[in-house]
Symmetry: C2
Subunit: 709 residues, 2 copies
């Protein structure tokens, strides 16, 4: 698409000079023309007779719309007349509109009355663009009328969008079936609609001062998509760009921070219960093999480790400085860290922006920038990186190594991560506290984890994204390689209010988050426990090779619930091919149920489980298995667990590795059986039919987002 | 409302005689008139000139609609012309309609063309009635157009409805805001709309043969609600009434079954591993104090207990007979049970309808009816009733007494109930297997649990309701006294298909279930684990006295997630009164967050938790507390648990007993703390912010359904 940028530039510059916050109808029309956004023929009339003359020129029927910067909702103001068929009707409507609009707002300033050729016919939609506090310019699409007005059903994408992204929006809206025509009505022209979205996205991208564009309604017919009403709002205040080092700079700093050769503890203490004491102990007891450098103005050694009065006294450079001193002292010590070329300062202390001390945080950040130091926190528990045996935290040490990296913006959630990990024996590569995120944030972490051979999946608790656009960019790249799971807190308006009072972060519109995260390939978790279980299970599950999920169950009742859960989690229950159905029937009793779920019935011996699971794994048309086990005397829990693991491992040796999850219903022995299965990379849960399917669903969401299936 | 039933009767009788499956437009109009259902003036025309004549009589503008029993979707067939302004237009439209309709369906039979005064204007809705396989006659309401067509957003009620119930439907539909007028448009007349629903509900109630009524569209304006199109479908096949004894009969039988003085085990066995052996052992080892009567044709005694060749040999009457013999023998033995006046036969064996042997099940039921025996099952694990130390099952015994009664239609889910109960130390009064539900079903159980002093809450796993209407009636009565929780399996179409293959039960439309269960005061659980956790927690939580929920949290991050969970679960976050806010501020640091959640911050000593929890409990404006604990060195998990329990118990002693739930985030010590709190009636969960709020939400849903708040 080529756009007439110069024309739009001229109009916007004039609007700026005139101090306008929105464009007049004429200017809006000109901008639309410059960006190939079709609108009906129209002109502004200054009198009733003028309106009739214009109508005669552009052709009947026409609509009349009051034009005033002071009236945003023209219909409510009685400022709209539709379907006017002749000059008499136009003149009468002109006068009536003015009277009604004045009654609605006596002091409103009027540009005149817009005369517009009726554009109706086709599907009514809303297309728009706005500036999101986290993500910047985004475009929006919704079905018009009740769907948007009452239901708020809108889908978003980051601007600018490609034609393919614009088309994907047409498939993302609830009620999208209407685009294909309803009750035999005509379908909307998808290309025209996608083109409209694409053009609007370039307009707001090209001109940051275009804060909001509202095309409402847009009528999409088989031949075109035309915007019957256009509103363009302006904001000339410069937007603040968040600091973004180059990717190689981020990587260099993050590598030094996560894999340091030396760590200084500013405020190391010999006194039990002090944070500077706990951090030092954890570094030592955790088994960190690099240089540990306690910094304390009055001690020569702590726990037999040589201490320094100042970091400046340390010979050579230092990679990381963990701060365990009061907030007000941080900015004073940072320059000394700069002298020692510290790559990252881990700011444990609270008392910054989260308690209202915004300036103190700002000051620390400024000093850090000047000294080329990245800041982690402040207001955090620190971080763990198990490949280095590194526990740079005041919490208890953690040493179960694994492939899961987690981060949290809140210390409480960090403690939940720690407890859950220990309880479920989840192997982790890293647990990182991000706190106020004065500087380092999720995209910095992702940039490190992207190439970290010790990390296979990243799970992040997020209250706000300071720079959602950068996050989306990095997450898209990373999630193509390894799953990125995000728990976005403050989903609801009440939650968002709580988030604001907590971190002074402006929680973005959750629908924008939802759409952008999905587009970035991120697996969104909607609850804390889901985030934790997804993190635990996704590295265990192999990548699915297709959408066909098969349920094999000993309990018909579980089969029903597992099928419900598959639908809830967007999984596709394989349509059972006749030959495979016949093959299964050889193993199950004649009254076992056909199709999917395969109901092997409860009275069956271990061999039936074994044979059917093997069959499911062996058939290339089956891509994932959901097992429903039912505790019976004939096949007790541990017998099932051993045989299921045996068959799965036998197939893995043959190179067949499909995702297998299991729901075990039975007496408490099923708990041990679940542990046994988990240790063999088969996520298995007792007393729930939902959780195992939810983790399988999360794996599928990732694979789809990464375009692997 | 008075209706002209005689007139409707005449029309329907004629339709029956004519073998019609739907009413003609004239007959539909007459039935509508008889039931005060407003439709526009209309008449059937047999020629173009006839149409013009009729239009002249009823007044322009008019609509023309093809009338044919063979064409259901008139618009798709090109069989509708709207807004015709004069005779010429009517005549032209008449011919065009016929041509189009014939092109659509060449062999369609035409009654003629309906000429109808245009009824448009106002909000477009759909009102209807249908016969649901589980619930019988139900009425439906939805916003017209896309909302119903594409989104399927409809609300249902059992017919007949009261005026109040009809009005409640207006508040239940998604998009209901449109009824109040959109963009300043006029509001719909709620009374007229409710009246229309009420009338239609009586029509289908009065005439069972009216299988379906479709008023689509209905236009509701400020002055009226009028049905622009009416379709009435007929089905003269008599509906099958399910067997329903009188309530006192049910109670008498159920009391004898659940609290028997004697139990015979048909097929008692001395051989380990046999079901008849397990049942006998469980009865003995479970500590059942009534007469245990092993029935075995070839043994004199089992485990030293006198055995009988036949139940007929037992002296005196017998209350319950547990069947542990093959399915094909059941019907043969039932008459002998009849002779001993057995109240209930517990049919453990499978091999009935679930394996296709529908006749065998039918036969057993017929014999049982003739012998006045109620059947539990078949195809079940049996049942437990702990107040009697009664384990009439082949599963392992269970003896943790408590106030929760549970039932399941599936054996697998029954085993999940058992394992979960044991693992969580959930006290139960009863666990009952219902299996195929040949006879006894959920409403029989509810009728017993209703007056059972040992039961405070009932949780049921349901795959289908054989008689949803009776269930709704009983559930409504019972849930006013104690919570009834239902997990409906087969919610999704895939799940429903699985349910059909499992129990041959036709899963009803899930939206009908959802609405009717809600109207009956039932707390619906949407997952197995939720059902179990709700069952466990609801008896622990006191009844809330109002809607104000307050979150007190040590972790701001948890506070955000807890607030999200409150919204997800329909809870109201209390708006913090200024004086109470001030009172809280006395206890928390100056940077702790104001409002709700009360964020006491993580660095606080035990006394801060103690003081704030006490304040929340003491203030009468606060009705429930959600506690968010964060593991810190200053306040370790068990310290928190003890102090929280102490404050709650101190207030209980003073007569203040409010629902309190807790989310504990921290290292694994929080698990012990949760157990400690649970034992003191404070539902508490580690590593999740969702579950404690979900159980509080369930308690609130119950209290609202029972009109207690």
């Amino acid at each position: 698409m080529s756009y007439d940028r110069a024309r739009a530039r001229t109009i916007l510059d004039r609007a700026r000079n005139e101090g306008r916050t929105s464009l007049s109808p004429d200017d809006s029309a000109a901008v639309c023309a410059a960006y190939n956004i079709p609108i009906p023929p129209q002109a502004l009339a200054s009198s009733a007779s003028d309106a009739a003359r214009i109508a005669g020129e552009i052709g009947y029927p026409v609509a009349l719309k009051i034009s005033s910067v002071d009236i945003l909702h023209k219909t409510e103001a009685g400022g709209v007349a539709l379907n006017l068929a002749d000059a008499k009707a136009v003149e009468a409507a002109y006068e009536k509109l003015l009277v009604q609009a004045r009654a609605y707002k006596a002091d409103a300033k009027f540009d005149g009355v817009l005369v517009q050729k009726m554009a109706g016919g086709g599907v009514e939609l809303i297309v728009g663009a706005l500036s999101d506090p986290s993500f910047g310019k985004v475009v929006a699409l919704g079905i018009g009328g009740v769907m948007v007005e009452v239901m708020g059903e809108v889908t978003f994408r980051l601007a600018p969008v490609t034609a393919a992204e614009a088309r994907s929006m047409l498939d993302s809206i609830r009620g999208k079936e209407i685009l294909a025509g309803v009750r035999g009505g005509p379908a909307a022209n998808r290309d025209a609609l996608a083109g409209l979205i694409e053009n609007i996205s370039h307009l707001v991208e090209d001109f940051p001062e275009v804060a909001e564009v509202d095309l409402n309604p847009v009528f999409a017919s088989p031949s075109r998509a035309i915007a019957a009403d256009v509103r363009i709002l302006l904001d000339f205040a410069p937007s603040q760009e968040r600091y973004r080092p180059r990717r190689d700079e981020i990587k260099r700093a993050m590598n030094r921070i996560m894999c340091p050769e030396s760590i200084a503890i500013i405020g190391a203490s010999a006194e039990d219960g002090k944070i500077g004491n706990s951090v030092l102990k954890n570094l030592v007891n955790g088994g960190y093999q690099g240089r540990i450098l306690p910094i304390n103005p009055s001690l020569d050694a702590i726990f037999g480790i040589k201490a320094f009065r100042s970091i400046k006294d340390v010979p050579g450079d230092v990679d990381v400085a963990v701060f365990a001193i009061p907030a007000r002292l941080v900015a004073k010590v940072l320059p000394e860290c700069g002298e020692k070329h510290v790559a990252g300062a881990v700011l444990i202390p609270s008392g910054f922006a989260e308690t209202g001390n915004v300036d103190l945080e700002r000051e620390a950040l400024d000093v850090a920038r000047r000294n080329n130091i990245r800041l982690m926190g402040p207001n955090i528990y620190g971080f763990y990186y198990t490949p280095m045996n590194l526990c740079a935290t005041f919490c208890t040490p953690y040493n179960v190594r694994g492939k899961v990296a987690l981060s949290s913006q809140s210390g409480g959630v960090g403690m939940a991560i720690l407890g859950f990990s220990r309880s479920s024996k989840m192997g982790v590569s890293a647990i990182v506290g991000l706190g106020n995120k004065a500087d380092l944030d999720e995209d910095d972490l992702l940039t490190f984890f992207e190439d970290d051979p010790h990390t296979d999946v990243v799970a992040m608790h997020v209250e706000d994204l300071k720079d959602g656009r950068s996050f989306a960019e990095v997450a898209k790249r990373v999630s193509a390689k390894k799953p990125v799971i995000v728990l976005k807190a403050g989903r609801t308006s009440a939650g968002a209010r709580a988030a604001r009072s907590h971190t002074a972060a402006l929680a973005g519109n959750d629908r924008v988050y939802d759409d952008v995260l999905k587009q970035s390939g991120v697996v969104r978790a909607y609850s804390l426990n889901d985030m934790l279980e997804f993190a635990r299970c996704l590295p265990l599950l192999p990548q699915p090779q297709g959408e066909n999920v098969l349920i094999i169950t000993g309990a018909g009742g579980s089969g029903v619930l597992l099928a419900d859960a598959c639908v809830d989690n967007g999984l596709t229950l394989m349509t059972m091919p006749t030959d495979l159905d016949q093959a299964f029937r050889k193993f199950i009793p004649p009254f076992g149920a056909a199709g999917n779920p395969v109901d092997i019935t409860g009275g069956e011996p271990p061999s039936t489980y074994q044979n059917t699971i093997r069959l499911g794994l062996n058939d290339p048309r089956v891509h994932a298995l959901v097992l429903g086990y039912w505790h019976t005397i004939i096949t007790p829990p541990m017998v099932f667990a051993r045989l299921a693991a045996e068959v799965v491992e036998e197939q893995r040796r043959k190179g067949i590795d499909k995702p297998v999850v299991a729901s075990l219903v039975g007496d408490i022995e099923v708990e041990e059986a679940c542990r046994y299965l988990f240790e063999r990379r088969i996520p298995a849960y007792p007393y729930t039919t939902e959780k195992p399917v939810a983790v399988l669903g999360a794996k599928y969401r990732w694979a789809r987002g990464a375009a692997l299936i």
